[in-house]
């Protein structure tokens, strides 16, 4: 009898411990075959500062940029667990647009198998496989991208990043002539950087980021993964792109839309993102 009581007592206390744990934090349990939601929030910044359209930012090339547009395509999202298993978000639904000017910052994901995720992977731009499906097969996303200035024409494809504004070069140009730059203001030039693929190069890149805190997706818990995107990395990453060196033949603006520069930018963008923090729990966003 004594033994039974001891056993029962042990079981009872263990049981109550179990129940107690449950009450405090029931999201440690991952119920099989349940699903939840998550969001990726893209916080756009410039070299540690918040990106404010119309503000001035000076980079390490000595050029001062005013950014008037920063839009980009995020795609092919994959959530990764500690043991390496990947949940690949359904491709057909995995194309999103982030736009500073249109206040689009969030990627909403649904029906994700409940679990603890420690990494996220996403693509910057549109992969060749998707593009080659043809315009009709992706008319809805194409039209959406058109609205946010993230396309050229179908035959030339999507713009993965649309980064535009004005800049003051590090050293004023010599005034041998009196042509005005495209801005109409001496010393101030327009720039447009349109990242994308072309038949010569595939500039689509995928970026894998560690989550500093595990993202817990449950039926009732939706994490918000806060990603910082540093726009400064586009011209001032491991590859330096001096806008003044890229002025067009007329000297009016720096337009970077093809060639070697896009390959350099693609490389830079691999370092453009990091996960700043993860909100677990209700997932409701500030």
């Amino acid at each position: 009898m004594k033994k039974n009581i001891q056993t029962f007592a042990w079981l009872f206390s263990a049981g109550s411990l179990f129940v107690a744990c449950n009450n405090d934090d029931n999201s440690t349990i991952i119920e099989e075959n349940t699903f939840g939601a998550a969001e990726l929030y893209f916080d756009n910044g410039v070299n540690g500062d918040k990106l404010v359209l119309g503000s001035l930012y000076t980079n390490s090339n000595g050029e001062t940029l005013t950014i008037n547009r920063f839009n980009y395509i995020i795609s092919n999202i994959v959530l990764i667990k500690a043991d390496g298993t990947e949940y690949i978000y359904p491709k057909a639904k995995s194309y999103f647009i982030i736009s500073e000017e249109a206040d689009l910052h969030t990627v909403q994901l649904e029906n994700i198998p409940a679990g603890d995720y420690v990494k996220v992977r996403f693509g910057l731009g549109v992969d060749q496989q998707k593009y080659l499906e043809g315009e009709t097969a992706q008319q809805e996303f194409w039209d959406y991208a058109v609205q946010h200035n993230l396309t050229w024409t179908w035959s030339t494809g999507y713009r993965f990043i649309n980064f535009e504004g004005t800049f003051k070069p590090a050293h004023a140009a010599k005034h041998e002539d009196h042509e005005e730059p495209g801005t109409g203001t001496p010393g101030l030039f327009n720039f447009q950087i349109h990242q994308g693929s072309n038949t010569a190069t595939d500039n689509y890149r995928e970026i894998t980021l560690n989550l500093p805190t595990t993202a817990r997706i449950r039926q009732t818990d939706k994490p918000s993964i806060h990603i910082v995107a540093d726009a400064n990395k586009i011209t001032d990453g491991q590859n330096k792109i001096v806008l003044q060196d890229n002025l067009n033949a007329a000297g009016t603006n720096a337009s970077i839309m093809g060639g070697e520069n896009l390959i350099k930018i693609a490389e830079n963008t691999l370092q453009m993102f990091f996960v700043d923090h993860v909100h677990n729990g209700s997932g409701s966003h500030h």
């Binding site: 033949a249 007329a250 839309m257 060639g259």
Partner: protein, 353 residues
């Protein structure tokens, strides 16, 4: 007759036999062709090209359209005609003052609109071509644009079974050849007529042509100040003129002189049609003006006495066209009535994948 010779002849006959078997076994259906129903707008000037020797047909147009949107016409297969001639901006290079072509090289001119081609006698800002059938040679060969040659393109297309079929369907000799390629592109360009703007409806008394006060004022100002060069309902007299743009020394573009070699043609550029001008910014041969307001500011205050300045811009010792801001706004309102939304959305001119 020795044995070897018999062997050789037998071998040859076998090979020929194989060929004849092949052509009997594979029977290809070639779709019937028919003339394209080309409608000439009643308010347009005379056609300026000979289209009878290459009248557009349904199959010819379909082939020309596919070619227009095909990057294989360029050296690295990346630059098609549509790369710089985008339908939604009336077949200009949206937002580009100068276009970039192959290897991201920048040209020195703004991409002109491909529209109403059969009503023009000469093409390009310097008139480098006077033939709708030949003009495609120029961008194809330009090392800054497509940097390719016709024979190489023909070799590429011959490898594509679909193109072999399309060429057979479009031309009686059925060849994948340079001349058929140029003719197909010409047929496609022939049908690209833009004549259904609000202005056209007004002029032809059709529904949707009600001009408001400002547009009517603009029309009147246009007739009195602009129509001497931007003449007819095509809004160009197809001539070459110097409108007093200060030369850009970085580009050093001599204009028509580069084609004719005559000093008297220096700085003269083709008067462009103003149809769809609302959609074709930036403006002028080097795309230096980003808005119609800038263009009119130039005409009122910016015209310079450069070599060969057009006499029409030198009136009574005044250089340029004096305009008040109110007049400029009315002119801009009028110019917007030249936009033909059907043209820039017409699926006939678009290659959808």
């Amino acid at each position: 007759m020795n044995f070897k010779k018999i062997q050789r002849i037998a071998g040859l006959m076998m090979i020929l036999g194989l060929f004849s078997c092949t052509s009997d076994d594979v029977y290809e259906t070639i779709p019937a062709d028919s003339l394209f129903p080309l409608k000439i707008p009643s308010n347009f000037p005379q056609i300026a090209q000979n289209i009878d020797n290459n009248f557009p047909t349904q199959n010819g147009v379909a082939l020309g359209r596919k070619l227009f949107y095909d990057g294989r016409l360029s050296r690295d297969n990346s630059v098609s005609c549509a790369f710089c001639h985008e339908q939604q901006s009336a077949f200009t290079h949206h937002g580009h003052d100068l276009s970039h072509g192959i290897d991201n090289l920048t040209g020195k001119r703004n991409a002109p609109s491909v529209q109403n081609m059969i009503f023009q006698s000469e093409y390009f800002y310097d008139g480098a071509s006077n033939s709708i059938q030949m003009l495609s040679i120029v961008p194809i060969h330009n090392p800054l644009e497509m940097d390719e040659s016709l024979p190489t393109i023909v070799e590429k297309l011959k490898q594509d079974a679909q193109y072999v079929q399309l060429f057979k369907a479009a031309f009686s000799n059925g060849d994948v050849s340079s001349s058929n390629l140029l003719n197909a592109l010409a047929q496609f360009m022939t049908i690209m007529i833009s004549a259904d703007s609000k202005y056209d409806k007004y002029i032809r008394n059709e529904d949707g042509g009600n001009f408001d006060q400002q547009e009517l004022k603009g029309l009147n100002l246009f007739k009195n100040n602009c129509a001497s060069c931007h003449e007819t309902d095509l809004f160009t007299d197809n001539s070459f003129r110097n409108n007093g743009l200060p030369p850009n020394s970085k580009l050093n573009d001599l204009g028509r002189e580069e084609v004719t070699g005559f000093r008297t043609d220096r700085y003269k550029f083709k008067v462009p049609s103003l149809r769809n001008v609302e959609l074709t910014a930036p403006y002028m041969h080097d795309g230096r003006f980003g808005s119609l307001q800038s263009v009119l500011n130039f005409y009122s205050n910016g015209v310079q006495q450069t070599e060969n300045l057009d006499p029409l811009l030198q009136n009574n010792s005044h250089i340029g066209i004096p305009l008040t801001q109110e007049e400029k706004e009315a002119l801009i309102a009028f110019l917007k009535t030249l936009t033909d939304y059907d043209f820039v959305k017409n699926p006939l001119f678009y290659h959808k994948t």
